[in-house]
Amino acid sequence: MRVAVIQFPGSNCDTDCQAALSSFEGVRAEIVWHKETSLAGYDAVVLPGGFSYGDYLRCGSIARFSPIMGAVREVANAGVLVLGICNGFQILCEAGLLPGTLLRNNRLLFRCENLHLRVENSGTPFTSVLHTGQVLEIPIAHGEGNYFADPETLNQMETNGQIVVRYCDASGNVTAEANPNGSLGNIAGICSHGRNVFGLMPHPERACESILGGTDGRGIFQSMIEAVAKLEG
């Protein structure tokens, strides 16, 4: 399968995502420059982390106007799997492909560290090899990851099972102490109503090798790859 990793000016986790995806058998991950306008031939799309356009103005707010975003919207509407990590998540929110937005961390400082996430819904194409309630250890690295949505949207998302992962402690308890940035409901990642667009602040590509401290990120990519195989099978 072919996965497109979009490279915006200022993306800096593009090659990390490419390396992580390429470690799965049968996956060809290709960097796609943001000035391209078509994603034909790709089975899945990843919007990687970084500081697209320097994150000036507001995270993701300029990148959503990049030429490639038309194609991203098109394939997302057609049901192709789209994964946004960190800055990629922010771009998806700015583009309206995911509800809500990401505000400045409540303590105003950038935070990079390993954290725990609890899988809230294993019924998405990005969590299918995991089980609900499972605790993953995956690092974060962001200054603006404080998830916000209005109460009505949040309610709908809860009802629809769109909240995919929440920050928790090592035992899986969703507590205020385990919340690194002030996100509503400790939300770390959400999916679209149709389940095929998934955005999260933590970096699964950084947790794909035991020598780098853990492999809990692999489950997310594995789920995505299996979902694509199923769709095409």
Binding site: P9, G10, N12, Y53, C112, G213
Partner: protein
């Protein structure tokens, strides 16, 4: 606007001495233009010319079979790491800018060192930082200012490094009154490249076009190099325009564009515009190429209207490069810059007359011999004051404090306490290679494309250097090497940042000379070349001169992933050994400083023979897979090292030092060198003992890692017991409490 007339006052304002001005006159054979005066001023500042330090720097060992580009030849040295791969690395200071504008000062320090690395054709892979501030404790105005500087510098480093996508994986932060008003910000970058990718900063090929690429030139950072070569005074705040403003996003584009460009065969030479901006890059490339360069100021992309040629020449606007393009390849170059949306312009041409010639349209405003400007600057042999070694510490004058209280107090001292508050603000994992996170002895980074494992450490105990600059500098090198050994690495090269006071003062010059000699001895002892670095003099504020701080950064190679070792204990029941002696030296120790408020005595002795034997013995058993953890004893001595090995684990340790015949505080907190705490599986104990015995290093069994989460240390008849959780709490919370976050 007409240029001012050249007067003695104007010359003095440009920092040129009457003798230096005479030299300008004899080089030119006429009076310089205003622009030329500015050009000589920045090029002959200490920052660019090393006029006060060069004779000393020649003492460094800079050669070796692995050296591909030597110190001083180019923007950074390059070292072979095998299989056709090489590393380029360097450390550089941004002290003065950070003193007046901490956020941008530190940010552009990071930006500058990254440019030095990719100018060499290397892809930057990680960063480190060595920082010094005045005390951040208490409610004095000075403490508040120091906290503001500390917070601003860390945020500035985070801003630049995180955005450009380079992990900051290691560093050091010390707090001492001598840095009040004059913080130190030394930034390190390492990049990786194939041997054949080494790029040169020479203007080769007469007739080749000269391209400018990157950010537009503005009025920021005017004559920053000259600003950096003066003492800081009350009026320095007015120099804030001398501080540049960084744009890491632009630099990310510039980095990618330059690496893409260098992968083609279009580039004859490349040079970043750092200190002294356009001036330095044009005359240095011409000088290196043995050619001349002619540019037209009017073609330079500019951010502001109405800038004078003087301003454009001396601006230190960031994120700019000068590229000498092979004639006929201009279109390829343009395509790449356009892909990355970077401003660029063809601003000149390589000539054959050896002149750096700057035109403003039809007017020639600068016409000077490039080599004379770049390489024939003044050179001073300063006077060094005679040095009397410090008296050894009189132990009887040190009242014995209660170790039970000392250990937590030391762990809460900001220089020793956890720096998590700092490195949590840095993305230390991007580029997915960080195998050992910040907080252990050395950072370990896997370079996937090269299949190499690198380790890096940066160290300098300036208290030792203040007391005895020679010994302190020797220890800085040894500690770096020891940190690498603890991580399983063999050192391959050193870059140094020499931070000192005004060299016109003989006692300061002695410190510089003694440090260079001490570092040189250390590098010879560990068989590593100095690959380059930076000199920052004039680190003085109205409060006085900083403690001499020759920061050492050392890079090492780890042969095999199984050799990667960290400081944390791994399993209950593991045996704890001390390699080296119990030690007895309290002079210059943090115990003396933090508990007794005394910065005195002779620093610990540095015997390179013993030190090297310890590293070799340690590496020997690491490579045989016998070591579970290794941690060196540094500030705070053995007790602090043991506590740190318990942190981040569920374990405690039960330690018995036996009857040593000396005071308990000496046993626990002395800072004698060449000591490492290791832990190993009980099943390997006899093997390790026989290995260490045959390598001839002193060692002793001192205890066991316990499931009981207490640290217990017995010395003679005294037993001390601390719950690890309490110690860890003290260690982790000290800096966040002071910083209110």
């Amino acid at each position: 606007m007409a240029n001012p007339t050249i007067t003695p006052e104007l010359i003095e304002k440009h920092g040129l001495s009457p003798e230096e001005y005479e030299k300008v006159l004899s080089i030119l054979g006429r009076e310089p233009s205003f622009e030329e005066l500015g050009v000589f001023s920045v090029m002959w500042s200490e920052h660019c010319s090393y006029k006060n330090s060069r004779p000393e720097l020649r003492k460094f060992p800079t050669t070796g079979p692995s050296v591909l580009v030597k110190a001083g030849e180019e923007n950074a040295g390059v070292i072979d790491i095998g299989d056709g791969w090489a590393v380029a690395f360097k450390i550089e200071s941004h002290n003065h800018p950070s003193a007046v504008e901490p956020f941008q000062g530190a940010a552009t320090g990071v930006g500058g060192i990254i440019r030095d690395i990719f100018t060499m054709g290397a892809r930057p892979v990680f960063l480190m930082d060595s920082l010094r501030f005045g005390s951040i404790e208490g409610e004095s105005d000075q403490a508040r200012t120091n906290r503001r500087l500390f917070a601003g510098v860390v945020a500035g480093i985070a801003h630049y490094g995180n955005c450009i996508g380079l992990p900051t994986i290691a560093g050091e932060v010390y707090f001492d009154e001598s840095y009040s008003g004059n913080p130190l910000v030394n930034a390190f970058c390492l990049g990786i490249l194939r041997h054949e990718q080494i790029a040169r900063g020479a203007a080769e090929g007469v007739g080749n076009p000269v391209f400018y690429v990157g950010a537009e030139t503005g009025r920021d950072g005017l004559a920053g190099a000259a600003f950096a070569s003066r003492e800081l005074t009350e009026e320095s705040k007015a120099d804030r325009p001398a501080v540049q403003v960084g744009d890491p996003f632009r630099e990310k584009l510039l980095l990618e564009a330059c690496l893409e460009l260098l992968a083609t065969d279009c580039v004859a030479g490349i040079q970043d515009m750092g200190a002294a901006g356009l001036t330095c890059s044009t005359c240095e490339t011409a000088s290196r190429g043995g050619t001349g360069v002619e540019i037209d100021i009017q073609l330079v992309p500019q951010r502001a209207k109405g800038q004078t040629p003087y301003e454009v020449l001396l601006s230190e606007s960031q994120e700019r490069m000068l590229v000498i393009v092979k004639k006929g390849q201009e279109d390829t170059v343009k395509q790449i810059f356009e892909k990355w949306d970077l401003p660029y312009a063809e601003i000149g041409v390589v000539t054959d007359d050896g002149q750096m010639r700057v035109r403003n349209g039809n007017d020639v405003v600068v016409d000077v011999p490039a080599r004379a400007l770049a390489d024939d600057g003044p050179l001073y042999f300063r006077e060094a004051a005679p040095f009397t070694p410090p008296d050894p510490l009189d132990l009887a004058s040190v009242p014995q404090a209660d170790p039970l209280k000392i250990l937590p107090t030391l762990l809460a001292h900001p220089s020793i306490a956890s720096k998590r508050w700092v490195w949590r603000q840095y993305d230390h994992m991007v580029r997915t290679g960080t195998a050992v996170l910040p907080g252990s002895d050395a950072a370990v980074f896997i370079v996937r494309e090269a299949n190499k494992i690198l380790a890096a450490s940066t160290d300098c105990n300036a208290v030792y250097c203040k007391l005895d600059p020679s010994v302190g500098s020797r220890i800085a090198v040894a500690e770096c090497a020891r940190n690498l050994a603890c991580s399983g690495a063999v050192p391959i090269g050193v870059t140094d940042n020499l931070n000192f006071g005004n060299p016109h003062k003989p006692e300061n010059f002695h410190q510089l000379r003694a440090a260079v000699e001490g570092i040189s001895e250390g590098c010879r002892a560990f068989n590593v070349p100095v690959t380059g670095g930076n000199v920052s003099l004039y680190n003085e504020s109205p409060a006085g001169t900083i403690d001499p701080t020759p920061t050492i950064s050392m890079v090492g190679l780890i042969e095999d992933a199984s050799h990667i070792t960290t400081q944390a204990f791994k399993e209950a029941g593991d045996q704890v050994f001390l390699i080296g002696e119990i030690g007895s030296e309290l002079g210059g120790s943090h115990y003396l400083l933090a508990i007794h408020g005394r910065k005195e005595g002779a620093p610990p002795e540095m015997d390179f023979g013993k030190e090297k034997a310890v590293h070799n013995a340690l590496l020997g058993i690491i490579r045989k897979g016998l070591v579970r953890s290794a941690h060196d004893c540094s500030e705070g001595g053995l007790a602090v090292a043991l506590a740190e090995s318990c942190f981040g684990t569920a374990f405690g340790a039960s330690i018995d030092l036996g009857e040593t015949g000396q005071r308990v505080d000496v046993d626990l907190f002395n800072e004698s060198q060449g000591r490492v705490v290791i832990s190993l599986s009980p099943s390997n104990r006899s093997f390790v003992e026989s290995e260490l015995t045959s390598s001839g290093v002193p060692f002793r069994f001192i205890g066991t890692v316990t499931a009981d989460p207490d640290l217990s240390i017995t010395s003679g008849a005294s037993v001390f017991n601390w719950p690890v959780a309490n110690l860890n709490d003290t260690f982790e919370k000290a800096i966040p409490l002071l910083m209110g976050a």
